[in-house]
Amino acid sequence: MLRTQPQPLVRPTNTPLPRAVLKFLLNNGLLIALVIEIAIFATASPEIFLSTGNLFTVLRISATTGITVAFYTIALIAGQIDLSTAQVGAVTAVIFAWMFAILEWPLELSFVLAMAFAALLGLINSWLVIRVKIPSLIATLALGTLCYGLAISVIQSNSTTGLIRLNRPPLRDIINTEIVGIPATVILMFAVYTIIYILLNHTRLGAHLYALGGNPQAARLNGIQDKRLVRFALMFTAMSAGFTAIMIAGRGLSAGAATPVGGVLGGPLVAAIFSGVGLSGGSGRIERTLIGVIFLAVLTSGMSILNVSPFARSMIEGLAFVFAILIDSVRQRIETR
């Protein structure tokens, strides 16, 4: 009947049982799918798949895309689609690598300047959206093209291999740090999701983001500062893309123009499909995004462990995708009825 809200007041208590079960299944369809998925892989390869080491592999893969996708969900909730994450990420990582590895500036300085640069790109995106009044999808696509060009220019003037190597000592150690045996990046990812969960559900900022995405006109008429929210969303998406790209480059010891931070069809759509936002904004739950990210990471790791044939692999990926969107579509249809 209605979607679970994070707080428990005034909830209907008289829902009939079968309906409650259906509601539960649909609301938690993704979680159930994740459990089934884990069960299948665990049966097929118990000793490797179920080990702690692989658990961390799955979580590390999740963290790689998860942080950007989390901020992506925020932007989508506010009704903004950012198609420039891959290119913004690439150019940020390349500029970081240039400062850190070529100019040999200190790590902290290079990092802060690179992040400031990413923030600037986010600001340009939001300027195009707010001042020039271009839909975010188009504005970010345009800026993305420009960023890719910048990334290639910086690489080509500093390297002949298409990559800038990043093997100055402190970086790899910092990225591979473990805290009580858990990789720092994994802890960071969970921290990011927790903070965003609180932000979206328990702060005014979150309430305003949902309102802006749900009905921008209404939000404006009720005194919500829409411009500030758009700026916030796009700036943080750009910064998270930059951060993730630096992380990936640091772990891979080199930065290139193809640093994968969810291209046009990657991160944005994962966020859109799994969180349940759709692409028009106003709804969507961050915890679903997290489950979706982990679901995909388990799929990657499981199929790699089982050495699934490429044919089966692309079929399974395609079908899992279609299945996930079908479930979500049924859920939304039942909800709006």
Binding site: I48, S51, G53, N54, F56, T57, R60, I61, T64, T145, Y148, I152, I155, Q156, T160, T161, G162, L163, R165, N167, R172, I248, R251, G252, L253, S254, G256, A257, A258, P260, T300, S301, M303, S304, I305, N307, V308, S309, P310, F311, R313, S314
Partner: protein, 349 residues
């Protein structure tokens, strides 16, 4: 000249790699003929004389970058065939185009004795991880790093130079006849986001440029990373130089064949000469049809390269000397029938 350098490199690296090796050889080792026979139509050459009884039950592990691509699909087939032949356990994973560095952690859980990945974007980090764990790492293709002493596969620079050598042969013949007194350009089809391509075609460009003493203006790099298609770039280049002739080397076969056909479509087939790198079945099929300007290819033989990786990994485990993979077999229109028959049997039509 560069052949000499190559042989030198070959020798030095063999000696280095075999420093802990056992030089003795007895009847209990496999012979080159046995390997040739076991690898079927590919007839791979033996890289290491491995004993028929291993000192331990070795376990090898490899992350294939993308088995959906025909080259890597063949590498996988060759690896599995070799592992079966030698009777060792082989763990294979497929990162399907994604980064290897995370999956590598899971690969290590199998407690392999020797590991490897494609030397793609994040291989240095993978090699560094293997070094942390004290497991020998053999990167597949491309250079050397401070994290692993083992070099395996087609060194991209050498492959590019081999391609240039073949192309020089073809172009020289044309320059003596119908290309006499024509302005000659070298076209390098590459992708600046892929380090292997930069190395490969870059080396080819340098070798070609030195041989014909061309200036920089006559070396044109057509870079896929710009977002333009290779066809678009080819056609623009053709019109920019309406009277010139072009020698072309692409990073992989398809990247050269498409622009070649675009040039045919533009009516300039007589002005181009192509040598490709890779030499899988599709380019072999095309070379059989004898296109005017498709001189030949450098055959990488992915099946044998995969087979050889297993041999080299076992050699490291056993402490036996192994020779570098020899991937510089040039195939031209002159000998394509013979080579095709060896590999794939008689052509269908």
């Amino acid at each position: 000249m560069f052949i000499k350098r190559f042989m030198h490199l070959l020798f030095v690296s063999s000696m280095l790699l075999a420093s802990a090796g056992v030089l003795a050889q007895d009847a209990t080792t496999y012979t080159a003929d046995e390997i040739k026979e076991a690898s079927g139509v590919e007839q791979c050459s033996q890289l290491a004389e491995l004993p028929k009884e291993f000192s331990e039950d070795w376990k090898l592990a490899f992350i294939n970058p993308n088995k959906a691509q025909s080259f890597w699909g063949q590498v996988s087939v060759g690896m599995n065939a070799a592992a079966e032949f030698y009777g060792v356990e082989f763990v294979e994973m497929d990162s399907a185009g994604g980064p290897d560095v995370e999956l590598f952690e899971t690969l290590l859980l199998n407690q392999p004795d020797v590991v490897g990945t494609h030397n793609a974007v994040d291989y240095e980090a993978v090699a560094a991880r293997a070094l942390d764990e004290n497991i020998p790492y053999i990167g597949f293709d491309n250079g050397q790093t401070e994290y692993s002493p083992y070099v395996y596969g087609i060194p991209n620079g050498i492959a590019g130079e081999a391609g240039a050598e073949l192309l020089i042969e073809g172009v020289q013949a044309r320059l003596d006849t119908d290309w006499k007194d024509r302005e000659l350009f070298f076209l390098e089809f590459t992708h600046n986001g892929i380090p292997a391509c930069v190395d490969r075609t870059g080396a080819a460009a340098t070798a070609f440029k030195e041989h014909f003493e061309l200036d920089d203006e006559h070396i044109i790099q057509l870079d896929l990373a710009t977002g333009a298609t290779e066809i678009e770039m080819m056609l623009s280049t053709l019109t920019a130089h309406p009277d010139a002739v072009f020698a072309m080397i692409p990073c992989w076969d398809g990247l050269g064949i498409a622009p070649y056909n675009a040039a045919v479509e533009a009516g300039r087939e007589a002005d181009i000469m192509l040598v490709t790198l890779g030499g899988d079945k599709p380019p072999a099929d095309l070379l059989l049809t004898k296109p005017q300007g498709y001189y030949g290819y450098i055959e990488f033989q992915p099946y044998c390269e995969g087979w050889g990786w297993i041999e080299s990994a076992l050699a490291i485990a056993e402490g036996v000397r192994f020779a570098p993979y020899q991937a510089r077999r040039a195939v031209t229109q002159a000998d394509i029938e013979q080579r095709y028959a060896e590999l794939y049997g008689a052509p269908s039509s």
